[in-house]
Amino acid sequence: MFTQYKFWEPYSSPYDPCPPMTVKSYSTPPQLYINFQPPGLAQFEPRAALYHGTLWKELFSPYPGPDKRGDVDE
């Protein structure tokens, strides 16, 4: 299983004018990890599918990231 977000630590100079953001993140949504959607993927219930914007659980990509969200919806 993959993670929906990756984190990295950009270089910070001792002479940076602003307090450094030591960790930055970027989104790596599910479509990066499959070339084609395989048949028979697990589906959300109809109402949950409407909320998630997709019928298939494995294609759901939560945004914003967990560091700004506070839940565990991944």
Partner: protein, 189 residues
Amino acid sequence: MWYYEKKLEYPVKVSECNPRLAKFLIEQYGGADGELAAALRYLNQRYSIPDKVIGLLTDIGTEEFAHLEMIATMIYKLTKDATPEQMEEAGLGAHYANHDKALFYHNAAGAPWTATYIQAKGDPIADLYEDIAAEEKARATYQWIINLSDDPDLNDGLKYLREREVVHSLRFREAVEILKEERDKKIIF
């Protein structure tokens, strides 16, 4: 900073006096998928992208400037000895009126280069996918120019440049794989 080496990345030879080809080659000089757009796109994206792929963007962006020099040399060789009449016959009358024999950053249809050709979205995946697309579009442009040209020596240089687009595309795909890797897993905040 850069060090400059006073030679071309690959030798440029033009064997036929055919200024008409210059009009097509200018697409790779100042066109949307040309070498100038490529170099500026990659070198600008370096600042905000994860550090693992900065070096790749520096290397490829620098090489695109080397390609720009090759294209410029081809265009210059094809036009430097043309009379105004020959420029007009080659479809370069409007270019001559505006620029004489000077090179200028515009595409084959004369539209000037614009920063709207390139993008820096800040999302590393989106930016690298744009770079892959740009390499494929440049590869296709080289193919169409080779189809229009019957100069074997000029085509030799163009085939070299086309092959470099293929290699760059693969390197950008590898950069995406690096960014997809599960490295440090998760940093706890």
